[in-house]
Amino acid sequence: MLALSYPVETAIKMGAVLAVIPVGALILVYVFLFKMMSHMQSRLGPMEAGFHGTLQPVVEGVKFLQKEDLIPNGADRRIFALAPLVVIIATFLIYAVIPAGPDLVISNLDVGVFYALAVGSLSVLGVLMAGWASANKYSLLGSLRAAGQLIAYELPLVLAVVGVVIQAGTMSLSGIVEAQAEGEIFGFGGIGNPYILTQFIGFALFVVSSQAELTQAPFDMPIAESELVAGYMTEYSGFRFLFFFIGEFATAFALSAIAATLFLGGWYFPGLGTDGALANLAGPIVLMGKIMLMAFFIFWMRFTYPRLREDQLQTFAWKWLIPISLVNIAVTGVLKVAF
């Protein structure tokens, strides 16, 4: 890696990440929300704006830029305006620790995963702010539900990661990738040790809870259209709504990336090495592929399933996911100590 001075390096990183996040979110919107959903329903999805509708997400953005920005009477204007910012900044901050290659990481924190989870949990705040400040019943109910759900699934999400941390012995995401790359399964190290194999339960827990964390069906009550109109987003219009929308998909992108990093080996691809230029070049592509794979599963479920009821969802989290994840931790710990 070239030795760049800190300001230059930071500027490059910022430029990259500010470009990557919206683009990544838009890709998810296009590929999954528009195209995949449509094809699953034997339709085509957007076709007119650009070749096969490729410009559609861009057009959406520019459209929302032109929309009036309404703040309803009775709303708490400042908080109403700030809520989407909180959500989207929380999302952006997650990306700080996701490595896209041996050296391609904004900031390789020692507490990486932990940081990502902590920052990700901030969006609850934004949701509650939005619901409260809108002075709308649907919003309030929606935000309480959303917050209840987000925190209920925050836990299994956090606990599912513990198994990986135990195995890798580090919380740094780069460290976890390296541990997977260098690990071996029963002495066979050809493909490293993607933790999906040894931590399958953790992986399943993580996927299910990130589904809930993203408020995707079957866990999408907070924005359940047929009940609460649009939940906490009901009163939002124009660009502020777009922030929530983008935030949702950017979070999906981030969580897919984290899942890919934790369980699928992140940027590592067998044979490409764990450092050097090749890994740095191929890393982002490999990671992107894995992210798409993860996102495919997430959206596949979203477009297939009906949603659970709020209490069923809570029950599911507390009676199934959390006990299972606790057991998973204990078992992983025992195995780690035993071997």
Binding site: G74, A75, D76, I79, L109, D110, V111, F114, Y115, L117, A118, V119, S121, L122, V124, L125, L128, M129, W132, A133, A135, L140, L144, A147, I151, E154, V158, M171
Partner: protein
């Protein structure tokens, strides 16, 4: 270390202002959100003090959980938008005097005691070391914590389950 000093200055200013707003604002939800700022500031301070793990814990537990708990509590006890007329009792002047006096005394003592002690930050407090420390020296308090949490849980369940 001037960068750190600048950071400290910014954080301290934000925290001071927000802390004052927490205790003076007329809206409970606003108070909670100002509290978020203070807590985030504390997380920043922890980072300046090289307590990385603690900073993240601060975010995860305080902001991500306790403040949410506060917000739930507020929304459960009705939180109208706008100013609530009487959040303070009529001891504002006394309170201010007491607080100011206390700050004066504390400040003086601190100045007296640690007037110009420099902080030497050599190593980053690694989370692993925190774990090691807990499990070597502080095993008993650690288990006590679990019992405490259990007690809190049981208590809250009992309270919440009136019927």
């Amino acid at each position: 270390m001037s960068g750190a000093n600048v950071a400290f200055g910014v954080l301290a200013a934000v925290m001071a202002v927000s802390a004052i707003r927490v205790v003076t604002t007329k809206n409970v939800v606003h108070a909670a959100l100002y509290l978020v700022l203070v807590l985030a500031g504390v997380a920043g301070i922890f980072i300046l003090l090289a307590a990385e793990f603690l900073a993240i814990v601060q975010i995860l537990v305080y902001i991500g959980a306790i403040v949410v708990l506060f917000l739930f509590g507020i929304m459960l006890t009705r939180a109208p938008i706008g100013r609530a007329p009487d959040l303070d009792n009529d001891q504002r002047a006394i309170g201010a005097v007491v607080a100011m006096f206390l700050f004066g005394v504390l400040g003086w003592i601190l100045y007296d005691g640690f007037g110009d002690t420099q902080l030497q930050l050599r190593d980053v407090g690694r989370s692993g070391d925190v774990g090691a420390s807990i499990f070597s020296t502080f095993v008993v308090p650690f288990e006590v914590i679990s019992v405490l949490l259990l007690a809190a849980l049981v208590g809250a369940v009992v309270i919440a389950r009136r019927d």
